[in-house]
Symmetry: C2
Subunit: 205 residues, 2 copies
């Protein structure tokens, strides 16, 4: 192949070394930024990671709990899922929230967009705050048959993220982004004060 | 092989489908939580991701900038690197901070520990706040020859993380964790007030 550039890197050859319906693993022969030859393996997801912070009028949110296969550990998280890289992230958010929790939201607002693990993956993530919630029935995938749903005050979920009880990186970023919005005046003041009552005790009119 | 369990999952067979010095990719024949057969591919890093928020007495921090190969994009980040899974994360933190920025810290405090991308990787990360900084010379790897270092007020770096200018997920979590510590009284009050002057204007004695 023709050599291509990625910033200060040169790609001399690339090959797919593994593929399944969710990920491709590619290996690249490269010239590193210092001019020396090297090898780079990258896990390239076929999906965009999408996550949701559902927010009730009383300041509650929803976490879902499931045993994560890759780490062989139970994990409490914000509702999350994957959508095709070319799909509308908002549609993925709507589908995942409804499938995992049963709840439907009338209003979505993007609160974060980031790269999940940029040293050895090309995974990207987008997160939303969802309000105007109406109940319904979940419709889970086979891998999610054991999923639990827990409703709790937002500040309690945020504290779980800050204390390390929630270990999922995407959930930590989602809850931090929602708290930042509440703190910096990006939400209805009374709702923000219900989300973070200790911090924003004087914020409600 | 004998079947093994991972929570509600059963592993019927596993094989390594790709390996290089940094990652292993494993493929598992599984029975999903709902009882149906499935396939699971997992990227398993051979390193623990370690990151550092260096914090100067005046409230400044350091970001490093480099072109990230996996995403073909320039990225401003907290100093980060990988250490062997069985190495002391603190030693990795000391080494990476010194190698990337030249600065040495006399005091380290763990501020976060999380799973980076738990749907298709087993990657884990640990983050530290580093204080008592002394200058020195960087000693970068070949892949980091183009790295830039920028010193700036902590609140500016935190704002970059909250606004999406910093796209690296680990850096967003590191800066959020350091801000949380400052906000909740976990740091010297005067230093905390220099980190987040707008939020903590009245905090210094």
């Amino acid at each position: 192949m023709t050599e291509t550039k990625r910033g200060p890197w040169t790609v001399r050859a690339e090959r797919t070394v593994y593929e399944n319906p969710w990920i491709t693993v590619s290996e690249y022969d490269v010239i590193q930024p210092d001019g020396s030859p090297g090898l780079y393996g990258v896990m390239e997801p076929k999906f965009l990671a999408v996550g949701v912070v559902p927010l009730f009028e009383n300041g509650d949110t929803l976490l879902v709990g499931q045993h994560r296969f890759a780490l062989d550990a139970f994990s409490w998280e914000c509702p999350e899922g994957g959508g095709a890289n070319d799909a509308d992230p908002l549609e993925t958010a709507r589908r995942e929230l409804a499938e995992e929790t049963g709840w439907r939201a009338s209003h979505y607002r993007e609160i974060c967009s980031f790269d999940v693990s940029n040293s050895v993956t090309s995974e990207r993530a987008v997160g939303f705050l969802a309000t105007g919630l109406d109940p319904g029935s979940p419709d889970r995938e086979g891998s999610e048959a054991d999923m639990e749903v827990r409703r709790m005050p937002f500040h309690q979920a945020y504290e779980m993220a800050m204390s390390g009880t929630i270990r999922d990186g995407f959930s930590i970023i989602l809850l931090s982004a929602a708290a930042h919005l509440a703190r910096t005046g990006g939400l209805d003041r009374a709702l923000a004060a219900r989300m973070l009552p200790e911090e924003l005790a004087g914020a409600a009119p």
